[in-house]
């Protein structure tokens, strides 16, 4: 499986964020997008996720399921947690499992994997920032997607949580997955770095 983009150009609010950008990542490979604030890391991830329409260029996933788009085969872990404060931890996760569909895993087991099994029935409103992040990470596990698009994935995580996440990324890569992460801090796994230009 190979995810690639070529000649990507993104314009937001009349300002060109990047142009002529290309990237590629194969199965088992992690790509770290680095660069200063405002250099377009998040925009690039959102373009890959299909949430922003590039004004030029194309993205392709070779070797994926032909009838699905790239976005439908990807997980997007953004700044916002996509959690409902009124629902419990387990209800939040079970919803995403049922809604995302595809190859699904048991929600309780995934909560154990991210270390939230003690808080299963707690409303998400009472979670700390780190716990919210752990719950979002559990979403990556509960429905299988070959491509992980991660935006500052380790922010708010404690050291133990970061180690745990490194392990989960390793497993994902070992299973032939692809990780593309926008980050400022080293991810702790073998990555290929792609540096985006300075903010104009």
């Amino acid at each position: 499986m190979r995810l690639s983009g070529k000649d990507l150009r993104c314009v937001r609010g009349g300002r060109e964020v990047f142009a002529g950008l290309g990237f590629a990542a194969s199965s088992g490979e992690a790509l770290a997008i680095t660069g200063p604030n405002g250099s377009g890391k998040t925009s690039l991830l959102r373009v890959i996720a299909g949430l922003l329409v590039p004004s030029d260029g194309s993205i392709a996933l070779d070797g994926g399921e032909a009838e699905l788009t790239v976005a439908e085969q990807a997980h997007y872990l953004g700044h916002r947690d996509a959690l409902k404060p009124a629902l419990s931890v387990l209800e939040n996760l079970s919803f995403w499992r049922d809604f995302l569909g595809g190859e699904a895993d048991d929600a309780g087991r995934c909560l154990t994997l991210v270390g939230l099994d003690h808080a299963t029935h707690l409303p998400a409103a009472y979670l700390s920032a780190g716990q919210r992040r752990r719950l979002s990470i559990a979403r990556l596990l509960v429905a299988r997607r070959p491509v992980w698009l991660l935006d500052e994935p380790t922010s708010a995580l404690d050291t133990k949580g970061q180690d745990l996440f490194v392990g989960l990324m390793r497993d994902h890569l070992a299973n032939g997955g692809i990780v593309i992460a926008a980050t400022h801090t080293p991810l702790g796994i073998d990555v290929r770095e792609m540096r985006m230009g300075a903010a104009p």
Partner: protein, 222 residues
């Protein structure tokens, strides 16, 4: 189908929990209808003549009150991004969200109608007629209102915009809803004609609403 039923169940659950907003609509409906007899005065004949219109206006404003959160809540916490990315067509997801909103916020209005009809001096037939027209007409309010909610999603304080966008679309529903109720109470028109048009308006909104909302959500993403 699991995806859609999961979405419907989640939205209903959120709406019914504390701070969810489903009951706010009913409370508003209750307040408007209870205050109206005090404003109009103790003229029972006038009250029963105005009754259907008051109930319909209350229901219309109550559904507007809760509609603006239909997509903004999901947009603010990032859920909308994931819904757009998912394997479920966005049109169906929009329809499921509107259905959930109607079940949680629209249906209670109809359930409350018989009790409120008593306050407005409506007899049995009239109450049944109003409840029936609300049952046929409120889905149209939700499904057309969804278009405005989707357009307002990227704007902060989109509530007022929602009202401006949606109210013109809901005028036909209001006209035929009240006309059908009045026809059942006083005649001379038959109940069937305006009621059929009301049902037709609902059916059209089922088709147009989800597509228009999905299109505006796709364009509104940033």
């Amino acid at each position: 189908m699991t995806a859609l039923s999961a979405l419907i169940r989640r939205d209903i659950r959120i709406a019914l929990r504390v701070g969810g907003g489903a009951l706010i609509g009913v409370l508003f409906f209750l307040t408007v209808t209870v205050l109206m007899p005090f404003a109009v005065g103790p003229d029972l004949a006038l009250l029963s003549r105005l009754g259907p219109a008051i109930l319909w206006l209350g229901a219309l404003l109550a559904s507007l009150l809760t509609l603006d959160r239909l997509f903004t809540a999901d947009h603010e916490d990032g859920s909308l991004d994931l819904i757009v990315m998912s394997r479920t067509p966005l049109e169906l997801a929009c329809a499921a969200k509107a259905l959930a909103h109607w079940l949680a916020a629209g249906l209670p209005l109809i359930v409350a109608t018989p009790a409120l009809g008593l306050l407005l001096n409506l007899d049995g037939t009239a109450t049944v007629a109003v409840a029936l027209t609300l049952l046929a007409g409120t889905p149209a309010l939700t499904f057309t209102g969804m278009i405005g909610a989707a357009l307002a999603v990227t704007l902060h304080r989109g509530g007022l915009l929602l009202a401006v966008l949606v109210l013109p679309l809901s005028i036909p529903v209001l006209i035929f809803g009240v006309a059908a109720s009045q026809a059942a109470i006083t005649g001379p028109m038959s109940f069937g004609t305006p009621f059929s048009i009301l049902c037709a308006l609902s059916l059209v909104s089922f088709v147009v609403g989800p597509f228009a909302a999905a299109a505006s959500l796709r364009h509104g993403l940033d």
